[in-house]
Amino acid sequence: MKTSLIALAALFVALAGSAAQADPPFDPKDPKMAPYISGDKRSGYTFAEPETRAMQDDEFLNPASLWVEKGEALWTKPDGKANRSCSSCHGKAEDNMKGVGSVYPKYDIHAGTVINLEQRINMCREKHMAATPWKYESEPLLAMTTFVKMQSRGMPVQVQIDGPAVSYFENGRRFYYERRGMNDLACKHCHEDNWGNHVRTELLSQGMTNGFPTYRLKWQKLGSLHRRLAGCNEEIRAEPYPLGSREYVDLELYLAWRAQGLQVETPSVRK
């Protein structure tokens, strides 16, 4: 097994080496990079091309701003049988949603399980607004998740992994280190052992989740972390789990713990 993996790695190196790939410039001492580094953790921002970083930094030109605006409009729009909006209970998002996005996924007493921000929003819709929950990856859910999480921009990711969250966290950790799919790879093979190296022309990042939901140029739209995870699974030729599934929420919790200390960057722009 080990030799075949080395052979595979050698193949990747040979392919990447011949392309004389120039990495995006990254200087750890650059003060502009400081907000995107925490200890030895590096946000995906530091692996992105300068043009992509510039797109993220410009509040107007960041294409995710289109979803932020939609989310902002939905925040005050009454919906459901209760004819309430998010703002009926929570008031101004700028004040009251600060620090909310940075602590999810989180154990919720009412749900009796660990839920992520998308599920929390839908829980609110069902319980307090008597509205139908939004479909995972639907435009309004993406817009609202981004709008809420953006209020924590600049705050460090901080998730609770003890107490009732322990077993969910352990599930997520197991998922991360478990080989899967036809390529027989685990998350860790790319994002722990080989970040900074290339898979063909792709520069592998540490797989930090602090920028999600993210505008991905490949998708030409905003997308959730779960969509990215499903994409990762497909790339290693594994069967992806449904978006919003137990497996992905647990993994999201584990990944948030790995990104702990990095600042929430939502909405980020990535290739």
């Binding site: 289109l66 030409q220 739209k221």
Partner: protein, 106 residues
């Protein structure tokens, strides 16, 4: 319904160079992709963008199939006169998305 947005300094000194930033949320369906049944999804893009000041054209751009979704068009103008700036995006299906702003030049 795509909603365009525009940003620039709406009050400027005469002769000042202004950067105009625009963006519209649009899928820019290229006409190259296929749906689940293998049928081509018809092309539907914004094919033209025009900016006018008091009816006179300041800037125009023609767009084709390879332009990304949510196209951003940035350009520079020299502030010469006050008036109404109109921004128009023309869709393949005939719709026109428009937005206008007042420019004041002192």
């Amino acid at each position: 319904m795509p909603t365009p947005k525009v940003k620039f300094n709406e009050t400027a000194a005469k002769g000042e160079i202004l950067e105009i930033k625009t963006m519209i949320d649009h899928d820019m369906e290229s006409g190259q992709r296929k749906d689940k049944d293998g049928k081509l999804i018809p092309r539907k893009i914004v094919n033209k963008f025009i900016c006018t000041l008091n009816g006179k054209e300041l800037f125009h751009a023609e767009m084709h199939g390879a332009v990304s979704a949510n196209p951003a068009t940035n350009f520079f103008i020299t502030a010469t006169e006050s008036g109404t700036m109109e921004f128009k995006w023309f869709d393949d299906d005939g719709s026109v998305y428009a937005i206008s702003r007042q420019l004041t030049v002192n």
